[in-house]
């Protein structure tokens, strides 16, 4: 170890550029210590706000987050100079420290603002908070003075297989606990602060290059990663101690995500703009409601749920075919307008099929309430169950069912993407005329994408009807279609992880930040405009989409190609 210490790889080159300030490193150390010490002191005079930050030597949740941040900073500082230098030669500790320092400072400022707002006055902020703030600022200042360094290529960093799988497990466990903790926070300020903290840590991980490395690891262990993701999702209900509040939100997120994944086939793979997609979810839900045992159901045929699912999805797919076949011959903008109109027609049709303006199918604006819980075999989804001493409520049951659904949708998406059909879709997106001249069935593939998308949305709809207990036309307004599309675009068209992330963000945040709901649309509009300007390919970019959005960027194209060649070599 001492040998490595003396020959810190690239320090001489970096040192040649800006003069190294010897004070920087101890300053950062002092900052980290101050943050930790401050977090053990009382932050607020008022113990009833922000889950009690008022007791000395007994840190509350937000204080523990600050301590975690400081510990991360400490690790990075030690990687810079000290016993962890081996790590430091791979990771960009300085950039990570800058992100952490900035994030922690913002975090502390917001904490002080939050205490001031919640308990009427700056006077209620105790010295501990200021000590921590000073520590955070010191970390920020010291990171600005530390030199940037030349780094080794992370794609070369290969650890034994079990370490990489362990890394995946740790990452997944962190996601599980992070999600459970963040969702458990009931007051808005704590939630926002927690989000800020999570954002800071993620940014720091990206900046240090840990995420780049993790990306390579994920490439190598795709199956393990997928499995781990589903295991984490599976265990989420067990962290909720029988509470249905968060599970209800989680179910909504899953339905939204499954629907967005279906839309992703239409928008992300086939490249068709569909602004009325919610209608397919609605038709599935209405079919399930009409065929259910509800006292208000209008069709006197109550088949088992599996049949209902197929009928619902089939009806949605048929609607997709009907709307698709005449309109898919026209190009982009016209298609968007036609689908937008279709979405509205669907809503109005549901409104009018009330027995007065048309046949009695949907009870018009009243909708179909009182849909009973699902019963598959002898398993009733309304019952509570206890597994290994942990209670699972009604929504947990639906959650597991929806997890199966989303796994199915992802499977369909991934397998279609990597097949003859998927290649045809890419070809159509790239150059429709050339694709046609090469014998690709352009029209057929577009209709197929439309129908499959509608089918999957219909499936999700049948479950949604039972989970929501009621269906009514006002659940299926244009805004919902717009949000679905926003989830796909924001997350990253054509990707699985991206769309799941986008759907989670767009559904979870409004649920948790209810006080903000008046400005919700404003914020999302702003977010989308910014995204389109700075990262049109979405949060998680599909490599191909990224190339399509950056036609002129030769460096990117070469980088992508090299990445591909490395993957091929790996095989």
């Amino acid at each position: 170890m001492s040998e490595v210490q003396t020959s810190t790889p690239a320090e001489p080159e970096a040192a040649a550029q800006p003069p190294v300030k010897p004070i920087a490193w101890p300053l950062g150390l002092l900052g980290a210590v101050l943050v930790i010490v401050g977090s053990f002191l009382s932050w607020s005079y008022d113990g009833s706000i922000l889950n009690d930050l008022s007791i000395n030597l007994y840190p509350g949740g937000l204080q523990i987050l600050a301590i975690i941040g400081a510990l991360l900073a400490l690790v990075l500082l030690l990687a810079e100079r000290g016993p962890l230098t081996t790590l430091g030669s791979w990771l960009d500790a300085t950039l990570g420290l800058r992100a952490l320092g900035l994030g922690l400072t913002l975090y502390m400022v917001l904490v002080i603002v939050a205490i001031t707002m919640e308990s009427d006055g700056l006077i209620n902020v105790n010295p501990g908070a200021y000590v921590t703030l000073v520590g955070a600022v010191l970390i920020l200042v010291s990171s600005r003075m530390l030199p940037l360094r030349q780094l080794r290529d992370l794609s070369q960093a290969k650890l034994p297989g079990w370490v990489e799988i362990l890394a995946i497990s740790v990452m997944m466990a962190a996601i599980l606990f992070g999600a459970a903790y963040a969702l458990g926070l009931t007051d808005a300020w704590s939630f926002i602060l927690c989000l800020l903290f999570i954002g800071t840590v993620i940014l720091a991980l990206f900046r240090t290059g840990v995420m780049t490395w993790f990306g390579h690891v994920a490439q190598r262990h795709k199956k393990v990663l997928t499995l781990a993701a589903f295991v984490v999702a599976f265990f989420f209900p067990f962290t909720q101690r029988g509470s249905d509040a968060n599970m209800s939100i989680a179910c909504q997120v899953l339905i939204f995500a499954a629907t967005a994944m279906g839309l992703n086939i239409v928008v992300g793979l086939a490249g068709l703009l569909d602004l009325g997609y919610i209608a397919f979810l609605g038709s599935g839900a209405y079919v399930a409601a009409m065929l259910s045992e509800s006292a208000f159901s209008t069709i006197d045929w109550h088949p088992p749920f599996l049949v209902v699912m197929l009928v619902g999805a089939g009806v949605a797919a048929t609607l997709g075919l009907i709307i698709g076949s005449p309109t898919l011959r026209v190009s982009g903008d016209y298609l968007a307008i036609v689908t937008l109109g279709f979405g509205e027609i669907f809503r109005l049709a549901m409104f009018n099929l009330d027995g007065i303006n048309g046949p009695l199918l949907t009870n018009g604006p009243n909708g179909i309430p009182g849909i009973p819980d699902l019963e598959i075999g002898s398993f009733n989804f309304g019952d509570e169950h206890t597994v290994a001493g942990l209670e699972l409520g009604r929504f947990s049951n639906y959650y597991f069912l929806l997890l199966l659904l989303i796994a199915f949708v992802i499977l369909v998406f991934a397998r279609l993407n990597d097949s003859r059909i998927g290649r045809g879709w890419v070809a159509i997106r790239e150059d429709e005329k050339a694709a046609e001249a090469m014998g690709v069935n352009v029209f057929g593939l577009k209709v197929l994408a439309f129908a499959i998308g509608a089918f999957l949305a219909g499936l999700a709809g049948t479950i949604k009807a039972h989970q929501d207990v009621a269906v009514s036309p006002d659940q299926y307004i244009f805004l919902e279609s717009a949000f679905l599309l926003a989830a796909v675009v924001l997350g990253g068209m054509g990707t699985i992880a991206g769309v799941l992330l986008g759907a989670t963000i767009l559904k979870l945040l409004p649920e948790k930040l209810r006080f903000f709901s008046e400005y919700r649309l404003l914020l999302f509009g702003l977010l989308l405009v910014l995204m389109m300007r700075f990262r049109p390919e979405g949060l998680v970019a599909s490599r191909r989409r990224q190339l399509e959005f950056h036609e002129e960027d030769e460096d990117l194209a070469i980088a992508v190609e090299e990445e591909r060649l490395i993957v091929e070599e790996g095989k």
Binding site: A434, N441, V442
Partner: protein, 313 residues
């Protein structure tokens, strides 16, 4: 039947006709882009299509391949839009680098690009139209689309049939890349490839549709002499594997070396058709390309303006 009979009674060096376009006319509003052009392509023949810019060569190609529906005229082809064959048959065919089916009697082609491809006619484009963000291999695999059949359900279920077909498609694509000399660039993105390689990749993609006749629209445009030489070698190689080729080209040396027959189009009309030697020595061809004083005499309407323009300085 009759076609087969006539072919056997007139045993020409180049064999039976693959393509027979008669009286093809394409009119865009008031513009007569192609006027009553006839073209017969025989088995294993390389036919050149020359003419000055704007003569209607590419339009004629578009009429043949169904991108345009000709205003009048018939395109008959020795083959009907075939259904994709089973995966097993493809594997067997793949023994030859470029597989050719036995010739069928001539039947009129529907003016739809997809039907044309399925019948066995493939093309490349004047301005390269590759799928730029796909790799070379994927580009060629797209070309296999019309000869494979796995649908949505098979793709999701991933049965043995799907895997066999996918493997066959991949193997065939790789084989075609080797055939055009791009075997080592399979994983490169099309947009990153050098210009000459892109041209060859486009030919490989067209070959992937198992054509009997391949139409090349200016395959050597913008190439240096060495690349041009390689291109003509490739075209000979394609011909030797049993395909017929139609080439649009401006490079006269290239076309007269390469082709068995040459058709010269001027202002949408067929000026002359014959062997390279005949066409080369025809004064009207030289005139159409280079232009002479007589050229101005021909267009009485344009003359005053032309003369005014030229003699003003």
């Amino acid at each position: 039947m009759t076609v087969t009979d006539t072919a056997s009674t007139t045993p020409q060096a180049s064999g039976r006709p693959v393509l027979e376009a008669s009286g093809v006319t394409m009119r865009f509003g008031g513009l007569l882009a192609v006027n009553d052009v006839n073209l017969t392509v025989r088995e294993g023949e390389i036919v050149g299509l020359i003419g000055p810019n704007g003569a209607g060569k590419t339009t004629f190609f578009n009429c043949l391949t169904g991108l345009y529906k000709p205003t009048s005229g018939v395109v008959r082809f020795a083959g009907t839009p075939r259904k994709p064959e089973s995966a097993k048959r493809q594997v067997r065919e793949a023994d030859d680098a470029v597989a050719v089916q036995p010739l069928a009697p001539l039947t009129p082609l529907p003016p739809k690009p997809r039907a044309v491809v399925r019948a066995g006619m493939a093309r490349t484009f004047q301005n390269i139209r590759l799928f730029a963000n796909m790799t070379a291999l994927e580009n060629v695999m797209v070309g296999r689309y019309s000869r494979t059949s796995s649908g949505a359900l098979t793709s999701v279920l991933r049965g043995p049939k799907f895997r066999k077909e996918e493997a066959a498609t991949r193997a065939r694509a790789q084989e075609l890349l080797d055939f055009v000399g791009l075997g080592k660039s399979a994983e490169h993105l099309a947009r990153n490839m050098p210009y000459g390689d892109q041209r060859r990749l486009e030919i490989a993609r067209a070959l992937a549709t198992d054509p009997k006749l391949i139409l090349l629209d200016e395959p050597t445009a913008g190439m240096n002499p060495l690349e041009t030489k390689q291109a003509s070698d490739l075209i000979f190689k394609i011909r030797d594997s049993g395909l017929s080729v139609v080439v649009i080209e401006h490079d006269m040396r290239f076309i007269f070396n390469l082709c068995d027959r040459v058709l010269c189009l001027v202002r949408g009309e067929a000026l002359i058709e014959g062997t390279p030697a005949e066409v080369q020595s025809d004064p009207r061809v030289i005139e159409a390309y280079i232009g002479t004083g007589e050229d101005d005499d021909e267009d009485e309407d344009e003359r005053p303006q032309d003369v005014a323009d030229e003699e003003a300085p």
